[in-house]
């Protein structure tokens, strides 16, 4: 009996299985970005041909992201005239946990048509370990990678008050944290689409009992806590029928945790699941809602 107890204790203390890496679904490898020519799966499957990016309004970037000394070369893209960033408002789009920028390319194009083509600049990046970005994804790396983009935007002259942070699903984590505390420049507004509330809520919602998230992972994802300190306007988009992060468990909790003040709004879309909200809402309606929030009109 003593041997069994010792053996079980040894397994407990030496165990190292964690689900942290399951947060990152970056398995699809690519050798180059294909953008419009990409034939694989896309988040927005079909976007009308009218959503074209004019010549000269597309810049591929390679940036160095520094996560407390853990440096990685990450890839990013800017839609808009890079030389006029000083006079523009920019939407920094933090994509979800699946795939890479080719997967989200149609979304970036759709965002660049908010209020008419080119009215806002749009930037997105592949987190480390995603697409052609080097390294392995980590929770702290997400924030570092977004900061690398912010630094590039700042170097290009982006002015305070002209930054819109947009986080989708996994991207809601760095977007929320940087909307609350941004070492590069303060954001003017925060948009979250289908955010998760926290790792704890993810676990409880699945387990149906109050199991701690520490039983499964070491993640400290906590949008519902971070957003309590948000001081800028906030807009939530969430599919009422989200099949991955339920609105009632996640989006609603995040929204209610955000302090009430002018500029706070939510758009809950009936029939929309986790990754088809713009399609379900209608591209024009989606763009109009974004424009209304960003301009405050």
């Amino acid at each position: 009996m003593n041997r069994i107890v010792v053996l079980l204790s040894a397994i407990l203390l030496s165990s190292c299985l964690r689900l942290d890496s399951n947060l990152f679904n970056n398995g699809e490898k690519i050798s180059s970005y294909q953008w419009d020519a990409f034939q694989g799966e896309r988040e927005i499957k079909e976007l009308p041909d009218s959503y074209k990016i004019p010549d000269g309004q597309f810049t591929e970037l390679s940036l160095i992201s520094d996560d407390n000394g853990n440096k990685a070369s990450i890839r990013a893209v800017y839609l808009g005239v890079a030389d006029s960033i000083a006079n523009d408002t920019v939407i920094l789009y933090c994509h979800g946990n699946k795939n890479h920028m080719d997967f989200y390319w149609n979304r970036a194009k759709l965002l660049s048509y908010t209020g008419g083509q080119g009215r806002f600049g749009v930037m997105m990046m592949d987190y480390r370990g995603y697409g052609l970005s080097e390294g392995e994804p980590t929770e702290s790396g997400l924030r570092a990678d977004v900061i690398a983009c912010l630094q590039w935007l700042k170097e290009k002259g982006l002015k305070e008050g002209n930054l819109i942070l947009y986080g989708f699903s996994l991207g809601s984590a760095p977007a929320t944290r940087l909307a609350v505390n941004n070492p590069v420049m303060p954001a003017a507004k925060l948009i979250l689409e289908a955010p998760f509330a926290s790792a704890q809520v993810m676990v409880e919602d699945a387990a149906k009992l109050s199991l701690p998230s520490s039983y499964f992972c070491n993640l400290s994802l906590d949008n519902d806590v971070q957003i309590q300190n948000l001081r800028i306007p906030f807009c939530l988009f969430h599919g009422k029928d989200d099949d991955f992060l339920r609105y009632e468990a996640h989006g609603k909790r995040v929204y209610e945790a955000c302090p009430d003040k002018p500029g706070k709004k939510q758009i809950v879309v009936n029939g929309a699941v986790h990754n088809n909200l713009p399609y379900r809402m209608g591209f024009e309606n989606y763009s109009a809602a974004l424009l209304s929030f960003i301009t405050g009109k």
Partner: protein, 225 residues
């Protein structure tokens, strides 16, 4: 290979759910042991999912020890090995009582059980306790024992603002077969876990009747001494 990678890419909430549900072990002991009798048992299996179209139980394991305190009263203690591999010690201890007084000719019986589940992780030292209560009715045909019953886990934490649904219990219905041999006793059990919960909007393709709860399939083996 892609499928294998995809299997291990199941998302956190789904896996967390699986691990909890997997800790809802089968009713290895439905008939009390004889007084003074010892037994050890192991079980393998868990919630049933469709993976690449193929129905399969999630492989989760547990080890148990049983002791016949009286002829109609047995004690059980065990640990979940899968939870252990995640750095979470999960032990359970409980009691099984036969309602009908056993006899040599007894071929039918009803038993009730109570278990306490204790969990503690080594990462943040978070502790949880869940009581469980259950019952089974069984019938023997020669060396084959068939049984059916129900059980439930109960929530013990009631925060003022529950993070999710505020669910207070996790009921289960089960039916199974055991070979009632002298020493070795293999068993199979089919469990309907949490029929009070809607099993949708989770990434895993659970096998569940009418979209409610999850079917679990368990294999067990007991060795009596």
């Amino acid at each position: 290979m892609t499928s294998l990678r995809a299997f291990f890419r199941l998302e956190i909430p789904a896996l967390a759910g699986l691990l909890l549900l997997g800790s809802c072990a089968p009713s290895i002991l439905v008939k009390p042991l004889e007084k003074g009798q010892h037994a050890i048992s192991g079980n393998f299996g868990g919630p049933a999912i469709r993976f690449s179209g193929i129905p399969m139980p999630v492989p989760l394991t547990a080890l148990n020890y049983h002791y016949g305190l009286k002829d109609n009263l047995s004690l059980t203690a065990g640990t979940g090995l899968t939870a252990l591999a995640f750095g979470t010690g999960q032990i359970h201890a409980g009691i099984l009582a036969g309602i009908l007084k056993p006899s040599e000719k007894q071929k039918t019986g009803v038993s009730v059980s109570g278990n306490a589940h204790f969990m503690l992780d080594r990462w943040q030292w978070n502790f949880r306790f869940y009581p469980e209560a259950g019952f089974n009715a069984w019938q023997e045909f020669g060396k084959h024992r068939f049984y059916a019953g129900g059980s439930a886990w109960f929530e013990t934490r009631f925060p003022e603002k529950p993070r999710t649904s505020g669910n207070i219990w996790l009921p289960m219905l089960q039916a199974g077969w055991q070979k009632s041999g002298e020493h070795w006793q293999p068993s199979v059990e089919l469990k309907w876990i949490a029929p009070n919960q809607v099993a949708k909007n989770l990434l895993v393709d659970y096998i569940s009747p009418g979209g409610r709860g999850v079917f679990g399939l368990y294999f067990g083996l007991m060795r009596k001494f």
